[in-house]
């Protein structure tokens, strides 16, 4: 029997891995969009076991719209408008990042197994491991890429991971759509604010390389 949720998770892992070795900004944005759609579908697939409700589908559509379309589109515009040189510029190499991703998954599997979550179904355990890996990969991207825009993408991937962890653990939150909507709204505003700052950074520094910003220190 095939589990659709597992396939989703495998695709999320794939996008995580590819994002670690991706050397082009556009490809990174596309991967993020793909990941956004997959991540939004996870609660839908998990919850369908308990029956599909109108709200569930509506919220799924909203999530896809925000995580899969709106935010990637904003990032896409930012890359188009702001970045002239569309290489990713890693601080540590792509192969090292991939290796870090591997270590991350070993770590997440280890953590998931040592939590003794016997009450959770198997799906959720795999989901938890995937989520921790996604979060870790987001952190890796955030820390090891030089361009400010890749840091935003790293943050968003990390946020996806945390959202997945929430999906695996805190079921009640996902039935309170007001709260979910508020979290989503925060995310959109965060991307908007970061985009505005990014634009200004580009105007002022003529680049979005964060290593240029080192004037404030003690």
């Amino acid at each position: 029997m095939i589990h659709i949720s597992n396939i989703l998770l495998a695709l999320i892992l794939l996008s995580v891995l590819l994002s670690l070795r991706s050397n082009r900004l556009m490809a990174l944005v596309e991967l993020m969009a793909f990941q956004g759609v997959m991540v939004s579908a996870v609660p839908l697939v998990l919850e369908t076991a308990h029956g599909v409700t109108f709200n569930l589908i509506l919220f799924f559509l909203l999530l896809v719209l925000v995580k899969g379309v709106l935010i990637p589109w904003l990032m896409y515009r930012a890359v188009k408008l702001v970045v002239v040189d569309r290489e990713v510029e890693p601080i540590i190499g792509y192969n090292a990042s991939l290796f870090a991703g591997l270590i991350m998954i070993v770590f997440s599997v280890y953590v998931t197994n040592n939590l003794h979550l016997n009450m959770l179904p198997m799906d959720h355990k795999l989901l938890l491991a995937t989520a921790i890996t996604t979060m870790g990969a987001g952190l890796i991207l955030l820390m090891t890429r030089r361009k400010a825009i890749t840091q935003v993408i790293g943050y968003l991937i990390m946020e996806n991971g945390i959202y997945l962890i929430g999906t695996a653990l805190a079921k009640q939150v996902h039935t309170q759509y007001v709260v979910e909507f508020a979290v989503l709204l925060d995310l959109i505003v965060a991307v908007l604010v970061m985009g505005i700052v990014l634009n200004d950074i580009n105007h002022t520094f003529d680049d979005v390389d964060t290593t240029l910003m080192g004037q404030l220190k003690d």
Binding site: I2, H3, I7, L14, L17, R21, Y94, G101, L102, A129
Partner: protein, 311 residues
């Protein structure tokens, strides 16, 4: 060791052997379609083989018997691979416990002699190609052996045929489908690497400096080249069948349906190669290891997750 000389097994083996050049034609057709051209005839590869076999071989005076040995060994090892393969769910001609290790060492042996033959010519280009070939295949081999370990974990067997038959058959429709999906993608990358396809290597390139596999066989001619070509077709067939077996379990019960579906899936895989060749550009030489290592990382992901979550 199980030896099956049944009519079905032998027939499948010969059919596969005979159809390998035709399937290569599929790739060319797909590429031509995407380029908006009519493309070469379906049977182009047969014509090439016949043409090559009719010619005589030319040998440089600086070469030794190793140069002549190269094509023969690479051809025979490639044919031997097919002996172990359970085409369309049929029992393979040969199989024994642990034959997977043997299979990939056979592949290695064939490559080793191709490389030796290339080095034997003392041509600087061939040495360069050999170095690249060995580097990239050794990276791909890492991925392959992780895949084998993963399959052993899933099916509990070390025999190639038993991977795809029996109760714990490994394929996309089994319990651990999601992880097999990662493996399929990784294996496809390995397929592209091992068979010198775009984006790792471009078989259609005309510049020695950019070649990997082609440059190693520049000095072979006539029947020798035909053997090498045929060996390459067999190798491609082997990998493509490997991917097909993961995509679909050929256990419908009726051999006839098995064969039909198998042929269709195989055509799809070859068409997929053609598709990838049409829509991707070839990678710069220094990003190729990155690409191959991705397949390694993918199967590692799958393996780690399987170790913990399956069964």
């Amino acid at each position: 060791m199980n030896i099956s000389f049944s009519f079905a097994s032998l027939a499948m083996l010969f059919a596969a052997f005979a159809l390998a050049p035709l399937l290569m034609g599929v790739i060319l057709k797909v590429k031509a379609f995407f380029a908006g051209k009519q493309g070469p005839p379906w049977l182009i590869k047969y014509h090439t083989l016949v043409k090559l076999l009719q010619k005589g071989s030319v040998y440089s005076t600086s070469t030794t018997f190793i140069f002549k040995l190269g094509p023969v060994v690479s051809f025979t090892t490639a044919v031997m691979l097919l002996l172990f393969f359970p085409f369309a769910g049929m029992a393979p001609v040969l199989s024994f416990h642990g034959d997977v290790i043997m299979l990939f060492y056979l592949l290695g042996l064939g490559r080793f002699f191709t490389v030796l033959a290339a080095l034997d010519t003392a041509s600087p280009f061939e040495g360069m190609g050999a170095a690249r070939e060995v580097f990239f295949s050794s990276l791909a081999e890492a991925a392959i052996f992780v895949i084998l370990a993963l399959f052993f974990r899933l099916s509990g067997s070390l025999s190639f045929a038993e991977y795809f038959t029996g109760t714990h058959a490994v394929n996309l429709w089994s319990e651990s489908a999601a992880l097999i999906l990662l493996v399929v993608i990784a294996l496809f990358i390995v397929l592209l690497t091992e068979n010198s396809r775009v984006p790792v290597d471009d078989p259609a390139t005309h510049l020695e400096l950019t070649m990997i596999h082609e440059v190693m066989i520049l000095d072979h001619s006539g029947p020798d080249l035909a053997l090498i070509e045929m060996g390459a077709f067999c190798k491609m067939l082997f990998y493509a069948s490997f991917v097909s077996c993961l995509l679909f379990p050929f256990q419908t019960g009726t051999p006839f349906f098995n064969i039909i579906i198998f042929a269709m899936v195989m055509t799809l895989v070859y068409a997929g190669v053609g598709l990838v060749e049409s829509i991707t550009a070839r990678y710069k030489m220094d990003t190729v290891p990155n690409y191959i290592l991705t397949s390694f990382a993918l199967v590692c992901f799958a393996t780690i997750l399987t170790m913990e979550f399956v069964l």
